[in-house]
């Protein structure tokens, strides 16, 4: 069984940018371990020489001319922002 310890759970939460209270880490580690154990059934499959799937239907991504096709509605883009000022998204200070 795959064991995710508290330290790994804390690290995954950090990478995911989700604040997890210290008291929830044991439960989280346990849940993640069970899910990973379930995934380990995949180790039974012989995948030698098999290419990982990149596209479920054979298709070439379409190309277009590299040009501006859309835009010019700053007000619409900002209309749902929790904090917008002077035509920009506003966030806490990033640089001291």
């Amino acid at each position: 069984m795959s064991e995710i310890d508290h330290e790994t759970a804390r690290k995954v939460a950090k990478l995911s940018r989700i604040a997890v209270p210290e008291s929830d880490l044991p439960g989280l580690a346990n849940d993640l371990s069970r899910i990973l154990t379930f995934m380990e059934e995949l180790n039974e499959v012989d995948v030698e020489g098999v290419a990982p799937m990149t596209s479920v239907t054979p298709m070439r991504l379409t190309r277009r001319k590299d040009g501006v096709t859309d835009g010019d509605y700053q007000d619409k883009i900002l209309s749902n922002a929790p904090d917008a000022r002077e035509g920009f998204f506003a966030v806490p200070k990033v640089v001291e």
Partner: protein, 493 residues
């Protein structure tokens, strides 16, 4: 005319064209059914004024003649679809207050065809769930009831299924990443089709797992599924995976003739512990298709067993990437910050408050399997297994199989809350028969086929060849006719 909300799309369309009813009358009947169905918690954002405005416009268009099939028909839209000016929050707290400035391509096609949106429908948060219990709006409730318990309508498109089964709308949109259209359809005695990956544009639908997500209709009959699917399909330059293929007249392909077709019965789907009733229903379904002139053959899809674990690597991996955009900056919820909190605290607190437990779990699992050192062991291995699962299907189709018959779900609808203490993996097992279809990008449809001994609906699934939804719908139509499922839930709400 009474009970206009109980009509099928096909019947309502025909009455509209004959001038025997109006879109306003149909819409009012649905709005009044919705008002009386608060206990089902299916519609979570109602848009009655907009609906009546669109219904009046549809009536004007019908009066001029030559209106498209969907013109004037009242439908519900899953909350996952962005709808211009109308709340669209994927049943998540993190999108609270979000009102898109644009319309998803699929709902725009329906709107432009004259369909009348009644409101937005409940679902599992970000479409992650199989019971509609992860929604920020609370549980949607199945209109089917056999004892004192409230039952799940399934998920993630639980509100859509409940609303169609309870005749709150004539039909609804759903989306399906691992079974989210077909499992709720089976739990509610309705029809749900997930088309071939690329048939419906994903543009404007909140993304869960982009290589698996497809929209589709949830309806009362197979004919309705054909009518509505046609209106939802078509090439969209705004989705790079949208197929540039002509959309056939699916309804015209419902000939009822399946003589000479070959239907495969995959032996690997006869899983351990399958309830006797489900196994018997599956056998009856095969007999019905045989009686209609199809040839029934046993087939093997050897990698079936690995579909669920592969799915639960790939879907969370894609979700962790897709959901990175919910950071409290551009839309939706932002946590209130303490003195001295910087941008990292803003992200972490916002996402902790905004995402429910199942979404958090999947984002973290996805992050883990994509992280350095584990990418090959989990994510790349799962993508290789996905190649093998698709190859299994290609092999049987190359051998002459036209469609594959399986159960839709491993059980009938279960009670809300009954899985609360179960391991997350237990809930994932709901998708065991449906998830292979998403991994292989194939079309799949759930057809109501009978009632279990308690009186709850059970569905059968048909899986078709890529891009052959018309043929698949025709086989489903034959199965529907032969099964003769007419039961409706008794009104208690």
């Amino acid at each position: 005319m009474s009970d206009l909300n109980k009509l099928t799309l096909a019947d309502a369309r025909d009455l509209l064209r004959k001038g025997e009813t109006s879109s306003v009358a149909l819409t009012e009947a649905c709005l009044s059914a919705i008002e009386g169905a608060g206990a089902l918690n299916a519609f979570v954002h109602k848009t009655p004024d907009l609906a009546l405005e669109r219904a009046r416009a549809a009536d004007a268009r019908l009066a001029q003649g030559d209106a498209p099939a969907m013109c004037g028909l009242p439908i519900g839209i899953k909350d996952l679809f962005c709808t211009e000016g109308v709340a669209s929050q994927a049943a998540s707290r993190i999108l609270q207050g979000f009102r898109p400035e644009y319309e998803s391509s699929v709902s725009a096609k329906l709107r432009d065809a004259g369909a009348v949106m009644l409101g937005k429908l409940n679902m599992d948060e970000f479409a992650m769930g199989s019971s509609n219990e992860t929604s920020v709006y609370g549980n949607a409730v199945n209109p089917w009831k056999v004892d004192t318990r409230d039952l799940t309508p399934g998920g993630s498109s639980g509100g859509s299924a409940a609303a169609v089964a309870a005749d709150l709308c004539l039909a609804a949109t759903g989306t399906d990443t691992g079974g989210s259209i077909r499992q709720p359809a089976a739990f509610t005695g309705t029809v749900g089709i997930k088309p071939t990956y690329g048939r419906c544009s994903r543009w404007g639908i909140v993304a869960f797992a982009s290589s698996l997500d497809q929209a589709g209709p949830m309806t009362k009959t197979v004919r309705d599924a054909a009518i509505m699917l046609e209106a939802m399909c078509g090439h969209d330059p705004k989705d790079s995976t949208s197929a540039d293929l002509p959309v056939p007249d699916f309804e015209a392909m419902l000939t009822g003739d399946i003589r000479g077709k070959t239907i495969g019965i995959p032996r690997e789907y006869r899983i351990d512990g399958m309830p006797e009733e489900i196994a018997a229903l599956w056998d009856r379904g095969a007999d019905m298709l045989r009686d209609a002139g199809a040839k029934i053959v046993e087939i093997s899809l050897p990698h079936t067993k690995y579909a669920l674990p592969a799915y639960y690597v790939i879907a969370p991996a894609e979700a962790s990437s897709n959901l990175a955009r919910y950071d409290g900056v551009r839309y939706g919820h932002r946590a209130s910050l303490a003195a001295g909190d910087g941008i990292t605290e803003m992200y972490e607190k916002t996402r902790a408050e905004g995402f429910g437990p199942e979404v958090q779990r999947r984002v973290m699992i996805g992050t883990y399997v994509l992280s350095a050192g584990f990418y090959d062991a989990y994510y790349n291995r799962a993508r290789k297994v996905r190649t093998l699962i698709k190859r299994d299907f290609e092999t049987v189709f190359a051998d002459g199989v036209d469609a594959i018959l399986t159960p839709a779900t491993p059980s009938a609808a279960f009670g809300l809350g009954e899985m609360a203490n179960a391991d997350p993996v237990q809930m994932y097992l709901n998708d065991v028969f449906t998830v292979t279809v998403n991994l292989a990008g194939l079309p799949g449809i759930s057809v109501p086929a009978g009632l279990d001994s308690a009186g709850l609906p059970l569905g059968l699934q048909l899986i078709g060849r890529p891009w052959e939804e018309g043929d698949l719908l025709n086989t489903a139509h034959v199965l529907e006719d032969a099964a003769g499922f007419v039961a409706k839930p008794a009104k208690w709400w």
